[in-house]
C-alpha cells in the first residue's frame, strides 16, 4: 500500500494572537512545507483548506487561500470535521491521489481564534454539540471531556493527580518547542493548584485557544521519489464517527470513534500497537491523552494511567506520546492541529525533531479527534 507519501510538512508558530490575516498565517506553513522540495506551486494539482467555520468572518476560505498562495486555477475546496479537519483533509487528498486523479495535493489547515473572546469561542464550540437538545444546557468542549474524566474516575479509580502528570510531561517538551504557544515547564503542584474550569478538569488540564496554520504536501510514489529526500509513506488510515449527542454515547470511558479508527488503521498498515515507535495524540485535555492510550491499544481500558506513572510515554519510554508538547502546550488552532501532529511525526521519522528525537523511529501514529469524540482519525506513517 506504500504508494502515497508525505513529501512536505510545515506549520506556523502557534500563538494566542498572531496579529496577521488568515492568508498570511497560511503562508508560513506553506513556506515551510515547500522548502527543500523540488516542486513549484504550479505542480500542486489541488488544494484542500481545512478549518472550523465561524471563528473569522471569511466565508469559503479555500478560494482566498488558493489565490494568496498562487495555487489558482487548480481546484480548491474546503473540508471540515472541527478539530480533526486537517487529517480529514489528508484522507480526502490520499484518495484523490490513489484514484489517479491528481499527483500532488496540498492540505492547508488554519484557525484564527483570537478574533473572538474566550467566552465567544466557548459558545462556538458549544454549538459544535447538538444545538436543539444539548447546547441549550450550556455544554462546552471541556465540559464534554469532563464527563468522560468523571466517568473514568468513577469506573477505574483514575485520579486528578494522574491526569496532571500528563500535563507535566507535555509541558516539559512544549518548553523546547519554538512553535508552541506555551513554552514553560509545569510542576505537578502548578497543575494541581490551577483554577477549576469544569470539574474534575482544571486550567492546566486544558489546551489554549490559539492562532495557527499547518500544511501537508501529499504526492504519488513516482513524484515523491523524484522530488523529496525522505518521503514518509501513508501506511494506514482509519476514520469513524460517534453520536453528536452525549446522551447517544454507549461508552463514556473511551472514545468509540478513536477505537474504530485505530482498528482500521492498524489493519491497513499491517501493524499492532506495539509496533508504534512514536505517537501524536489529541490531548485537548489531559483526560483526552489518557483515553487515547487506551483507545489506541497502548494500554488496556483502565490501565492507561500506568503508562504515565511509569513515564513510558516520555521520549525514552516504550511508547513516546506528544513529545512536541501536544495540544496542551502547542495550543489548539482547531483546523491546523491535525496537520501540526502529522508534521511532528514526519519530522520524527526523518530524524529531524528539534524537541525530543525518538531514536530510530520508523513507524509513527497520529490520533486526531473532532469535537468530544464525534469524529476520529487515526493515521499510521512509515519511513
Amino acid at each position: 500500500m506504500d504508494d502515497v507519501a508525505i513529501i512536505g510538512v510545515g506549520q506556523s508558530v502557534f500563538a494566542r494572537k498572531c496579529g496577521v490575516n488568515i492568508r498570511e498565517l497560511c503562508f508560513d506553513a506553506f513556506k515551510e512545507a515547500m522548502e527543500d522540495l523540488d516542486i513549484e506551486n504550479k505542480d500542486i494539482d489541488a488544494s484542500i483548506t481545512c478549518s472550523a467555520p465561524e471563528y473569522d468572518k471569511q466565508r469559503t476560505p479555500s478560494g482566498l487561500i488558493s489565490e494568496y498562495l498562487e495555487l489558482t486555477p487548480k481546484p480548491a475546496f474546503y473540508v471540515e470535521t472541527v478539530c480533526s479537519s486537517s487529517t480529514t483533509g489528508l484522507r480526502v487528498a490520499w484518495s484523490l491521489i490513489k484514484s489517479g486523479l491528481h499527483k500532488v495535493v496540498a492540505i492547508i489547515g488554519f484557525q484564527k481564534m483570537s478574533e473572538l473572546t474566550s467566552r465567544e469561542a466557548a459558545e462556538r464550540m458549544g454549538r459544535g454539540a447538538d444545538i436543539l437538545w444539548e447546547s441549550p444546557f450550556g455544554i462546552t468542549m471541556p465540559g464534554g471531556y469532563a464527563l468522560f474524566a468523571r466517568a473514568h474516575m468513577a469506573t477505574y479509580g483514575t485520579t486528578e493527580e494522574q491526569l496532571a502528570r500528563i500535563r507535566v510531561k507535555n509541558a516539559s517538551y512544549g518548553a523546547k518547542n519554538p512553535k508552541a504557544t506555551y513554552r514553560k515547564e509545569l510542576t505537578l503542584q502548578d497543575v494541581m493548584e490551577s483554577a477549576p474550569i469544569t470539574s474534575p478538569l482544571k486550567l492546566y488540564d486544558a489546551c489554549a485557544n490559539a492562532d495557527g496554520s499547518s500544511c501537508i504536501i501529499l504526492a504519488s510514489a513516482d513524484v515523491a521519489k523524484s522530488v523529496c529526500k525522505t518521503p514518509i509513506w501513508v501506511a494506514g488510515m482509519g476514520a469513524a464517527t460517534d453520536t453528536m449527542t452525549m446522551s447517544g454515547r454507549k461508552s463514556i470511558t473511551g472514545l468509540a470513534c478513536a477505537q474504530d479508527a485505530a482498528r482500521q488503521a492498524y489493519e491497513m498498515a499491517g501493524v499492532t500497537p506495539r509496533d508504534i515507535d512514536v505517537a501524536e495524540v489529541h490531548d485537548c485535555f489531559t483526560i483526552s491523552e489518557l483515553l487515547a492510550y487506551e483507545d489506541l491499544g497502548f494500554a488496556e481500558p483502565g490501565k492507561g494511567v500506568r503508562l504515565i506513572e511509569e513515564k513510558q510515554t516520555y521520549a525514552d519510554g516504550s511508547i513516546p506520546v506528544n513529545v512536541d508538547g501536544g495540544l496542551l502546550s502547542k495550543g489548539h488552532p482547531i483546523g491546523a492541529t491535525g496537520g501540526s501532529q502529522v508534521r511532528t511525526i514526519v519530522r520524527q521519522l526523518r530524524g529531524e525533531s528539534s524537541e525530543a528525537q525518538v531514536k530510530d523511529a520508523e513507524i509513527g501514529l497520529v490520533h486526531n479527534i473532532g469535537g468530544v469524540g464525534q469524529y476520529g482519525n487515526v493515521i499510521i506513517l512509515r519511513r
Binding site: 441549550p136 468523571r150 446522551s247
Partner: protein
C-alpha cells in the same frame, strides 16, 4: 409552541418534536419509540431512519434512573456566564441515556455517579422551560 424557550439559550426553534415541549409544560418528560421496529430514542425523533418510517409513539421516561457522570462548569460560554457554576450530567433510564443538569437543590458534595435520580420538568426565569435531574 416550538423550542424558543427551551434551556438557557435556545439556538433553534422549529422541530417536528415540538410536542416534547408541550409535554414538559404538562409536567412530563416524554420521548419517542418507532412503532414499526420498537427502537426507543432519546432525544426523541419523529423519524426512524432504519425503517424509513415516521410512525412513532410518545412514552414517558422511566421514574428512576442512575447518574452516569457529571461535571460542574465554572466557566460558562457567552449567554451562560451568569449561571456558572452549573452542572452537566448524563443519567441512564432503563438503558435510555438523558443529558441535562442536576438540580441546584442537590449539594455538590452529594453528587456521586451511580446515585438514583428522576428527571422532572423545571421552569425558570418566567417562560424558560427545561428538565433537570433530582436526587431520589
Amino acid at each position: 409552541m416550538g423550542f424558543e424557550n427551551f434551556g438557557t439559550v435556545s439556538f433553534t426553534t422549529e422541530a417536528k418534536t415540538e410536542e416534547f415541549i408541550t409535554y414538559l409544560e404538562q409536567g412530563k418528560v416524554m420521548t419517542t419509540r418507532c412503532k414499526k421496529c420498537g427502537t426507543a430514542y432519546f432525544p426523541p425523533k419523529m423519524d426512524c431512519p432504519s425503517c424509513l418510517n415516521s410512525d412513532v409513539e410518545w412514552f414517558e421516561i422511566a421514574d428512576t434512573g442512575k447518574l452516569v457522570t457529571y461535571t460542574i462548569v465554572h466557566y460558562g460560554p457567552s449567554g451562560f456566564e451568569d449561571e456558572s457554576p452549573y452542572t452537566l450530567a448524563i443519567a441512564d433510564f432503563d438503558g435510555l441515556r438523558v443529558f441535562g443538569r442536576i438540580s441546584k437543590d442537590v449539594d455538590e458534595n452529594d453528587i456521586i455517579p451511580g446515585m438514583a435520580v428522576k428527571v422532572v420538568p423545571v421552569k425558570s426565569g418566567g417562560e424558560k422551560i427545561a428538565y433537570e435531574f433530582q436526587k431520589i
